[in-house]
Symmetry: C2
Subunit: 483 residues, 2 copies
């Protein structure tokens, strides 16, 4: 989902009344970022409070490449990483993940081995394969064992776009919240649904209801579900004890637009890129009785902050034995403070850009390769900013491309290198980057090796269901990451 | 000003608290249009309720060219046109225009000859000339006579961007409203300020206050002024008797971006074009006690509707002796009805495109000429949609380019000509266009002839001020309209 997909963020059809109301009752973050322009690394960052280059969710197979956790990935979240639910346990929290895990699907990466008490969802995304013959379909787990597979037991009709998944995930959330409220136990719910990822789906009730087509139907269903979750908290009388944050893990994918693609508003390009369209996200904080209604914040925020902020809410300190990139947003949320901090835009092993205040400096630019582009793979359809949306990896380290995101949110007009404004801003930014690089110790890259043998052939529980598939011989290879 | 310039419409800096509040107290129109992608024709349409091609505010000097009223224009609003203030007089209204008139500056076109009772402002825009030597600076009138000139008596500092004009126009508005309230007379105030037109300015208090630079400063000053006008109405106790509508006369000019250009959100291109960025406008209706607070309307609206709607509010019928293009929006505003009506996108003498429902068909495409484009004049900076943002005038009459503005508000993905969806939509659109063309009787074009002799050399009142300039000999020529 992209920055521009909500009515509160200017989507012209304005079809998200529940999220818009969540914003009007809570706080809208206009300058909130994900940690990576792709799913798995962002989620790893959210749960560890650390940049993917630290927690291992990146690749060194090639320079500045996006990598994630497809079925044949060998790696996953290292045991050495401390995840938010592991830490929250110390404060008595019950932790549940509903939906996409994405931090590795081999046994050692199972979410219940990393702090979660309950899981209902899938280890990988619901895109392909779709036939369970040549390759296994993605399993859906309840806690330790699979209970079925996408496209087989959990239908997604690729022709009509109908699927009941968001409704199933919604019901799981409502039930979990009810259970926790009844038992008076504090809880952390990570509601990490698959929608609006392509292939886009919505349940029957929402199909055909949006001006925006199937993608809009999916957005409307998410909006409706979040409205129901918030109302459920209110009905149970725990809304003033429950901090809720809504955001997304990468910008809207424009490659699948218009039928399967969302909106990044007026920002440049989309998912997979380190332009604003790839990493600036819709974000809303909600906590009635604590967050002033109708608040708007320009705090530079990041999904990694949800790690630190959640610990703070639980009265816990972040680990002191490692670098944590997330900051505690509570002073911004509760007291309206603006905390000075940079935003780093990584693609794989490379820091592509950095934002300090309203300035953003690109040290590297790349949309995608000419080879891909010539095949019709376009992360910036209809957008082409000369020297900016480059199709070769262009290094600008000696003279970064600098944009003022207030005057030029669309990253179309680089500042003149000889201007005083450029020199002043770059002085400040250079110091931030120097400090960042001097203290950067990259983690061991987890997304380098792929092997068909590790796919979801025979997840735990498959025997009971008669759904075990024959695992091929191991044949580990370097994963190929084209962009 | 463009669709995306207000916080309520998704501007990322969200710096328009007063307009956003006006929207939350009133009704936001998301599908509201101007009648032309350029100033003078739009304003003529607003005041006559008729398309520029009917009221004469267009040119036949060349095909599909934007024309307006520079100082050397010979034409202006024809006497045969009935303007909104002329009609409102019949219902006892006092009518005032504050700001830019733009419907011709020769004596017969004076706003007080066309229904206004009072005028404070200028006949033309404040851009150039700036020295009053080779050419006269634009005069500022109070009612029948000039009281000074821009850049001489009404300072605009082109270096700092400082000018007090919006404050002067604000005070005029507040004074007029107070006077009308005191005399218990109904009034029509046309607050047609120059800002945010380039060269952009703001008063000292607002300079440097916006994240967006000088343009944002100007937007903030407008926002603040409108807040003051609405509060003034409330303070005087007449807010429930006063219908207020906010909109703009064309999309944001992108040619002057980023320092002097605004935002059309995610829409394609800007001012001068018939893409959505050129003609879709921010629009808010406000009338406490009548318009439900927080309303949102997808009614296809047009500035021409303000003519018909205002007459309706005053209990008057629109003229029956001529084609009126504006519709009465009150059913949409007060009862939430959706009235079926098309939007026509004209450029000069050509209907370039038409919107019916969510479909928009382009019968002609043109951004601007290669000749201009190669000189750096770009109405779609950073945007280039192959076959859509064409630099030659391309006719598509036999097979219009069709977009679905719900799924594709950015006009990037024309529908396949062979799809059933295309055929069904075009059937409906073709009937609307056929009907439109069959009944179209263009007015006599007013924007064909230019003559240096008609410039503002010696406006009435210049003698008293010692500001009369020598008029050169008449030398009428065809005006040159490059785009």
């Amino acid at each position: 989902m992209g920055w521009g997909d909500l009515g509160a963020f200017g989507e012209p059809s304005k079809e998200t009344p529940n999220l818009d109301q969540m914003a009007s009752e809570g706080m809208l973050f206009l300058d909130f970022y994900t940690a990576n322009p792709l799913c798995s690394p962002s989620r790893a960052a959210l749960l560890t409070g650390r940049l993917p280059v630290r927690n291992g969710f990146y690749t060194t197979n090639a320079h500045a490449r996006n990598a994630y956790t497809p079925q044949d990935i060998v790696g996953g979240i290292p045991d050495s990483e401390l995840l938010l639910p592991e830490l929250l346990k110390k404060a008595g929290y019950t932790n549940k993940i509903i939906g996409k895990w994405h931090l590795g699907h081999r046994p050692q990466f199972h979410p219940l081995k990393h702090g979660f008490d309950e899981w209902f969802g899938s280890p990988n995304c619901h895109f392909g394969p779709f036939d369970n013959r040549a390759l296994p379909n993605i399993p859906v787990y309840r806690d330790w064992e699979m209970i079925g597979r996408y496209y087989e037991d959990f239908k997604i009709d690729l022709k009509t776009g109908e699927a009941n998944l968001t409704q199933i995930y919604l019901q799981e959330a409502l039930d979990f919240i009810s259970k926790q409220q009844a038992s008076q136990q504090p809880f952390f719910l990570y509601w990490a649904i698959d929608a609006t990822h392509a292939p886009v789906y919505a349940s029957k009730h929402f199909l055909g209801t949006s001006q925006r087509g199937l993608y809009g139907d999916a957005v409307r269903e998410i909006d409706d579900s979040i409205g129901k979750i918030l109302k459920h908290l209110q009905k149970l009388g725990i809304s003033e004890d429950t901090f809720v944050f809504f955001t997304s893990d990468n910008g809207a994918a424009l490659i699948s637009a218009p039928k399967q693609g969302g909106s990044n508003g007026r920002f440049l390009c989309g998912k997979q890129t380190t332009f604003e369209g790839g990493m600036r996200e819709p974000a809303i904080a909600w906590w009635p009785g604590h967050i002033p209604a109708g608040g708007v914040s320009h705090q530079l925020g990041n999904v990694m902050d949800l790690f630190t902020t959640s610990l703070s809410l639980a009265g816990l300190q972040p680990p002191s034995d490692r670098q944590i990139d997330g900051i505690d947003l509570l002073p911004a949320i509760l007291q309206g403070q603006l905390i000075d901090r940079p935003i780093f835009y990584y693609r794989g092993n490379e820091m592509m850009a950095v934002r300090v205040g309203l300035y953003k400096a690109h040290y590297w630019t790349w949309s995608n390769s000419w080879e891909e582009y010539s095949k019709g793979i376009d992360f910036c359809p209809g957008q082409n900013v000369s020297g900016v949306t480059t199709h070769t990896q262009e290094e600008h380290t000696n003279l970064p491309l600098l944009f003022h995101l207030g005057r030029d949110p669309g990253e179309k007009y680089p500042l003149s290198f000889v201007s005083i404004e450029y020199q002043r801003a770059m002085e400040q930014i250079s110091a931030v980057v120097q400090q960042h690089r001097a203290t950067m110790v990259p983690g061991e890259p987890q997304l380098n090796v792929c092997d068909k043998a590790v796919m979801n052939w025979s997840p735990p529980g498959c025997e009971k269901l008669g759904k075990c598939l024959k695992q091929p011989e191991s044949d580990p290879k370097k994963c190929f990451w084209p962009h």
